[in-house]
């Protein structure tokens, strides 16, 4: 029984922390964040050079062979540093689906490019009418000239603004909200019939709404049988986002405690006010809760005895709690910073905005709690 990161994982985290300390101050980070891409390609290349981009890929595909615990270790650290480079859409989503593709040629060609940082990809999954339902897919694929073409409308595609290749989730059979009947297609971003309408989100990342109109597409999953890889990738994505959020929480709390120790009002530091002390104990508790449940989810997901039902329960519990506690911690950080908390020049506002964005990604707290309730109590 052991709930600490391994020595290798700690070393990996420390290498990220060291790099961030030296190269990713608030101002340095900002340079990338306000650029057209919304991130720095130079930083991203450094991530590749330092091997971080190889973590989630299996060794046979040239990766580090990292487990979900390794991924969480990296994401938690990226959260602490508020890394805006598109690690999540490229590695976890695009890379995750590639890794699970049945098209070996595509995998052999593309995964190395993801690992070396040269290929930017995106997954076009959610649709405007679907809210948080990943099965509600109206996008269709038709056979054409021995290949396929896809048509449909995708919303808030992460990494969509700068992706060269897009994995599109399309329905090849069944009704619009059926869980089965989905397939994965690879589409070139500059292909005919692809319209990419890019825009920024509140956390600075550049995303896109996408329209596909008979866009040429290559099937990269079993036909009509992509539900399992999508589920697997979403599970890891949920944990990765939660780990990042836990990293954000740690910094939000630490920054706030430090601020209250220096900020004076009515002649004393505001940290001396008992009402604020108790509130900071509560935010500390929210962090420790979230961290504990993250760890619990990690150990259960990597335990072969865990049933799919239990895994789903843990993941949905984790994202429910992270949504609640993330909001608690972020709101309190701003409130306890007072006027300074609503300025763009303090980092906490940026951390909170990333937190809020995480807690709207692929579900909000209510959605995850609903999923939890279904798994835990449905009779």
């Amino acid at each position: 029984m052991n709930f600490e990161y391994s020595e290798e994982q700690v070393a990996l985290k420390e290498s990220i922390a060291r790099w961030a300390q030296d190269n990713y101050s608030f101002d340095q980070r900002r340079v990338g964040a306000v650029s057209d891409n919304g991130f720095s390609k130079d930083h991203y290349n450094t991530f590749a050079e330092l091997g971080w981009l190889s973590v989630p890929f299996s060794e046979e595909n040239g990766g580090y062979g990292g487990s979900v615990v390794d991924i969480a270790a990296v994401m938690e650290e990226f959260g602490k540093a508020l890394v805006v480079e598109p690690v999540f859409p490229n590695l976890i989503l695009f890379g995750g689906l590639l890794e699970r593709s049945n098209n070996e040629a595509i995998k052999a060609e593309l995964i190395p490019q993801v690992i070396d940082g040269s290929l930017m990809g995106a997954v076009a999954m959610y649709e405007p009418q679907a809210r948080f339902d990943a099965s509600n897919i109206a996008t269709t694929a038709a056979e054409s000239d021995g290949g396929y073409s896809v048509s449909g409308h995708k919303s808030v595609v992460l990494g969509g603004a700068h992706a060269k290749k897009i994995i599109v989730v399309a329905r090849t059979s069944g009704a619009q909200t059926d869980e089965d009947g989905l397939s994965l297609f690879l589409v070139e971003a500059d292909a005919s019939g692809v319209e990419v309408n890019a825009y920024p989100l509140m956390d600075g990342q550049q995303v896109a709404d996408m329209h596909f109109n008979n866009a040429p597409a290559q099937l990269i999953s079993e036909l009509g049988n992509a539900t399992l890889p999508i589920k697997e990738v979403l599970t890891i994505a949920h944990v990765a986002l939660a780990a990042e959020a836990v990293g954000l929480m740690e910094v939000l709390n630490r920054t706030t405690v430090e601020y209250t120790k220096t900020r004076k009002q009515f002649g004393v530091t505001i940290s001396s006010f008992q009402a604020l002390q108790h509130r900071m104990v509560d935010t500390f508790m929210s962090y420790e809760q979230s961290k504990s449940l993250l760890i619990g989810t990690l150990v259960e997901l990597t335990d072969e005895r865990t049933t799919p039902q239990r895994a789903s329960k843990m993941v949905n519990a984790l994202r429910t709690l992270v949504a609640k506690n993330g909001k608690h911690i972020g709101d309190e950080a701003i409130q306890l910073h007072g006027g300074m908390g609503i300025t763009d020049e303090m980092n906490i506002g940026h951390y909170h905005k990333r937190m809020m964005m995480i807690n709207l990604m692929f579900g909000n707290g209510d959605f995850f709690q609903h999923q939890f309730n279904q798994v835990a109590y449905a009779s």
Binding site: P128, L201, A275, I342, G349, K353, M357, N364, G365
Partner: protein, 391 residues
């Protein structure tokens, strides 16, 4: 115990409602919702109100105000929100003007009030200082007499619209006394004066409305002093009481609640509509029920004001509870819209959910300030603890 308006008040309500219907045109509405060139749109709207004689709601008739009763003001404010019409920019008409017509001399009244009424002068507020926060009396901006002038040096912060203001009203330190509240004076300063620098403060809603205003030996004629030197704290406190009316924001909250309900009727969720999701309904009614209580809390305060009583401790709660409910609604609106509420696009990009999402995000982010400014909710709780609980 009853909830009835007098027939005069009902008539007044109908008149106000009709006015907003005709004056707040769809053209104006489109301009307001676009969010661009705030100042000229505000002036256009304020002039419409002034033409009707309904701009200076809080002023007595003799200086050009409406002379309305508290209930009339409440009716006006409620109808304004129901119509979705924007509030006036408060710094001139609602904040400095009452100080001028209450504590200023005749010359000051003649000089400043008419230009406020016509929105020719644009005002901003210089109270808070860097490092002072809710502890207003800690202010350090100094005004030193120099001939017929004061020389003002220091800095003010959180100054909304300073970048487009003609005048700023400031609390400055003119003397040193044992009690920090003494030795403070109320000064009107021309923003075109030499030595004033306005530094923008970008806020977490990705916009710029706040500023720091730095004074470096700014020369201000003594005729711009309101009332008596070193008595400014008294005037400011009277003004703060003025500020509290309507702070609960009930009518605004009601509008948001309606918007959330409409949005939830359009959003799907679990193969049904979001509005039919019991979990969502509970989130919504958690807030709506508190809002119903707040409405009657406000009406109770209003009824006391109307009958000439000074409202009791319950009025102090309006700010705390009102801002908490506002923030809950701002959050629920984002949750209702979902991922699109992270969008930074303000216009109808792709779908109106981008605009509505972005508006909801801005409101949420900037709305965090509501529990901080005007005396943070923590300070409010201190005040209530002392005054109300006798602690």
């Amino acid at each position: 115990m009853d909830n009835n308006f007098s027939s005069a008040d009902i008539e007044f309500q109908q008149e106000v409602r009709a006015f907003f219907k005709s004056a707040y045109t769809t053209d104006l509405q489109a301009k307001v919702e676009s969010g661009v060139d705030h100042k000229s749109i505000a002036i256009e709207w304020q002039n419409k109100l002034n033409d009707q004689g309904w701009f200076a709601v809080d002023w007595p008739v003799e200086v050009g105000g409406t002379g309305w009763t508290p209930l009339q003001k409440f009716i006006f404010e409620t109808e304004r929100c129901e119509a979705g019409a924007p509030d006036v920019v408060p710094f001139g008409v609602k904040m400095v003007a009452p100080v001028i017509f209450t504590f200023g001399n005749d010359e000051q009244k003649k000089r400043f009030l008419p230009r406020i009424l016509t929105s020719q002068d644009w005002w901003c507020q210089g109270y808070s200082e860097p490092g002072a926060g809710s502890d207003l009396a800690a202010l350090q901006t100094k005004a030193i007499k120099d001939g017929d002038d004061y020389l003002v040096t220091g800095a003010k912060i959180w100054t909304t619209y300073a970048q487009s203001a003609d005048w700023i009203f400031c609390l400055v330190r003119t003397g040193t006394f044992e009690k920090r509240q003494q030795g403070i004076s109320f000064l009107l300063i021309d923003m075109k004066s030499e030595g004033i620098q306005v530094n923008p403060i970008h806020s977490i809603d990705n916009h710029h409305s706040l500023n720091e205003v730095v004074f470096d030996n700014v020369r201000v004629p003594q005729e711009n002093l309101i009332g008596v030197e070193n008595q400014g704290w008294t005037y400011a406190k009277a003004l703060l009481a003025h500020e509290r009316t309507g702070i609960a924001g009930v009518a605004d909250c009601r509008r948001w609640l309606r918007e959330i309900t409409e949005l939830a009727q359009q959003q799907t969720n679990y193969k049904g509509m979001l509005i039919d999701d019991p979990q969502f309904q509970t989130r919504l009614s958690d807030i709506e029920i508190e809002l119903l209580a707040l409405e009657y809390l406000e009406l109770r305060v209003l009824a006391k004001l109307s009958s000439g009583e000074t409202p009791g401790p319950e009025s102090s709660l309006l700010k705390i509870k009102g801002t908490e409910i506002q923030q809950s609604l701002q959050e629920l609106r984002m949750q209702t819209i979902g991922a699109y509420s992270g969008s930074l696009h303000l216009d109808d990009f792709e779908s109106d959910l981008h605009r509505r999402g972005s508006n909801s995000r801005r409101a949420y982010m900037y709305g965090r300030a509501a529990t901080i400014y005007g005396g943070s909710n923590e300070v409010q709780r201190n005040v209530i603890a002392k005054a109300v609980l006798g602690l």
